[in-house]
């Protein structure tokens, strides 16, 4: 894992001191809310419906046991005993007092964490494939590059006041688990024919009120040019991105309005000035960062196969969990485990302080001290010996985190929605809970197969509804909640934006509507191997519309 050097420590400490002073002056009435608001946002402090909210960065979703324990401690000491893991691999606390934030940030700094650039019109936390370093299908671990981007973008003087927020994601695999095509910049790390590392560069993806899939503007950018090329993109954006209208200020609009060809030409022209200059990454520097992410030494544990065979016979629930939540590791004696934060009827992404502590203990004991946060709001143990899986499962079952539903319909992404969020139009959490309860039977869920359901409480799309196989968007109509359903979205290497299927559904109707969509799929699929998304892409919206609305048309 990355370790802070002296500079990092000083930088974070200095920021804690600076913001503590700003909070103190605010509480003493020396600065006004209008002066303070941008300062607090730069440090991850929002105001929500019930209280302040603190968003803490989890760079590229990687945590050590010690860091996770500190998050548990913060939940216990300063908040209400839980935290919310988000689609940007961060964690949010929903109830901190402003007066406690300096102490929280000091505690975080003691474990090399912070809340810097988790809000505001700057380059945000860089997200990465949650299986990075473990995935069998990876060209190389993308996190060293995410770390290089983090160092480069932290309080970058030129890019701290962009037209709008800016989000970068990286993956090292063909199979995209980091949703890179929905980001302002998406980077796909790969090898060329000569075995050299470089990136396919995607620009201008985004969700919100204008969902757009990113465009590939370069197929292979040699790794040493990462910063000069990203700088060129950001310069073009900083110069031409719209500042007159917040809704048109993201780079996706610039790329769209300029046209991909012309935009690429502008980037290349700018890059021409920068290329091979001081932003070129020396091989030694890449190697130095790489070294921090060196995979743990994985001792041979060949006894795993036999142990699993026996444990499977012994426990059906373990067997189901193994099939659903455990994925192949590049080392055959090992596996990567998804710890579902989506227990049936639970709040997607929430974990209690004791659960965080227990997961930290598991990671320390069995997983080389490493935990990941996935953008699907689950936790991951990236490296565990197959021989230890049963012990891990047993402990997860004790703490209520052994639900075997990874990638199934109850593995729902949901934003906080109207239960917490000041911008919301409708609730998200309760919709997720009701759907999860309706489909509680694991047998039924497995029969349905892979199905990504994503819910946002307003068009900002924090819950990724545009790219859900089934997406649900909460709107407010005549003072009441209404839920719009989109179908056919996806956030993988074939990213697509879902299509709105028809009129929305009230809170009492939405669960039934989702069940109708699912039943329609089951009726039309060619066989069990045809997934929901494939079936939708084959037949289009017609049968779903028919099933949802035909009765009405006849009645009308």
């Amino acid at each position: 894992m990355y370790r802070y050097d002296e500079f990092d420590h000083q930088f974070v400490q200095a920021r804690v001191a600076q913001f503590s002073d700003q909070v103190e002056r605010r509480l003493a009435g020396e600065i006004t809310e209008d002066q303070f608001r941008p300062l607090r946002l730069m440090n991850g402090v929002y105001l929500q419906l019930h209280a302040y909210m603190l968003r803490i960065a989890v760079p590229y979703g990687t945590l050590s046991s010690k860091q996770l324990r500190m998050l548990a401690h913060i939940a216990r000491k300063y908040d209400k005993g839980y935290g919310h893991f988000t689609t940007r691999q961060n964690i949010q606390f929903n109830w901190p007092a402003l007066s406690d934030v300096p102490a929280i940030l000091a505690d975080l700094a003691s474990v090399e964490m912070h809340a810097i650039q988790t809000s505001g019109n700057c380059i945000r936390n860089v997200t990465a494939d949650h299986f990075a370093g473990a995935a069998a299908d990876e060209a190389a671990d993308p996190r060293p590059y995410a770390e290089i981007l983090r160092q480069w973008s932290s309080v970058h003087p030129e890019f701290s006041y962009l037209p709008r927020k800016f989000k970068i994601a990286v993956t090292g695999s063909e199979r995209d688990r980091a949703a890179i095509q929905t980001h302002d910049i998406g980077l796909h790390l790969k090898k060329n024919a000569a075995g050299e590392l470089g990136f396919a560069v995607y620009v201008g993806g985004g969700q919100g009120r204008t969902p757009l899939v990113a465009k590939k503007i370069r197929d292979f950018l040699p790794e040493q040019h990462l910063l000069s090329y990203c700088t060129a993109i950001l310069r073009v954006y900083n110069l031409y991105g719209r500042r007159d209208n917040k809704y048109k200020a993201r780079i996706k609009i610039l790329v769209h309005e300029t046209g991909v060809e012309e935009f690429t030409r502008q980037v290349d022209a700018e890059w021409g000035e920068l290329k091979d200059g001081e932003l070129t990454l020396p091989e030694a520097d890449i190697k130095a960062i790489d070294a921090y992410f060196a995979p743990p030494a994985l001792p041979a544990r060949p006894e795993g196969d036999e142990a699993i065979k026996l444990a499977r016979l012994d426990s059906r629930s373990f067997s189901e969990w193994l099939d659903q939540n455990v994925v192949t590791h590049r080392n055959p004696d090992y596996a990567a485990v998804t710890i579902s934060l989506k227990g049936i009827g639970e709040v997607p992404g929430d974990a209690s302080d004791s659960q965080m502590d227990a997961v930290a203990d598991l990671a320390e004991k069995y997983a080389f001290d490493e935990v990941r946060v996935s953008h699907e709001q689950n936790l991951i143990l990236p490296h565990v010996a197959r021989a230890d899986l049963k012990a891990i499962y047993d402990r997860l079952a004790e703490i209520g985190l052994a639900t075997a539903n990874s990638d199934l319909i109850s593995d729902i992404i949901a934003c906080p929605g109207l239960d917490y969020c000041a911008l919301a139009n409708a609730r998200s959490i309760i919709v997720a809970q009701n759907i999860s309860k309706r489909f509680a039977s694991l047998e039924r869920q497995r029969d349905i197969g892979e199905l990504k359901l994503k819910i946002s409480g307003c068009i900002n799309a924090c819950g990724h509804h545009h790219v859900g196989h089934i997406g649900i968007l909460g709107v407010e109509k005549k003072g009441a909640e209404l839920y719009q359903v989109t179908l056919g979205g996806s956030a993988d290497e074939h990213t697509s934006v879902g299509e709105i299927i028809g009129r929305g559904f009230g809170p009492d109707e939405i669960t039934d509507a989702i069940e109708t969509v699912v039943e329609t799929y089951l009726a039309i699929r060619l066989d069990r191997s045809e997934k929901f998304l494939d079936a939708y892409r084959r037949v289009g919206p017609a049968p779903f519309k028919e099933a949802l609305y035909a009765g009405e048309a006849k009645a009308a």
């Binding site: 009435g29 006004t32 019930h50 007092a97 007066s99 239960d419 609730r427």
Partner: protein, 98 residues
């Protein structure tokens, strides 16, 4: 009818203006039944904001049903009670909450 609401500066707690001070629950909020009363509340809110006591000050629409104050928007009902998915959080979790 309208009432005045805000969040307290120091801890973000949702508060409502009630007879000379900010209260942590909605029940005793001062009601404004006409334009003049609304303006009076607005002035009080602006002064309290300027005095750095509260932030995000708003007048909100309410009905009074059987003597109980009932915000028209779900958003404000959730602020007054707490998250609907967990009744152990927010105002509804207080020992004296109905």
């Amino acid at each position: 009818m309208k009432i005045l609401t805000a969040n307290r500066l120091t801890d973000g707690e949702a508060v409502w203006y009630a007879g000379g001070a900010w209260a942590e629950t909605i029940d005793s909020s001062e009601l404004a039944a006409d334009k003049a009363a609304e303006e009076r509340l607005e002035t009080i809110g602006a002064a309290s904001f300027a005095a750095n006591e509260v932030v995000d000050v708003n007048l909100i629409d309410v009905d009074v049903v059987d003597g109980a104050i009932h915000p028209l928007r779900l958003r404000e009902r959730i602020r007054a009670a707490g998250p609907t998915n967990r009744n152990d959080l927010g105002k509804q979790a207080r020992p004296n909450a109905a």
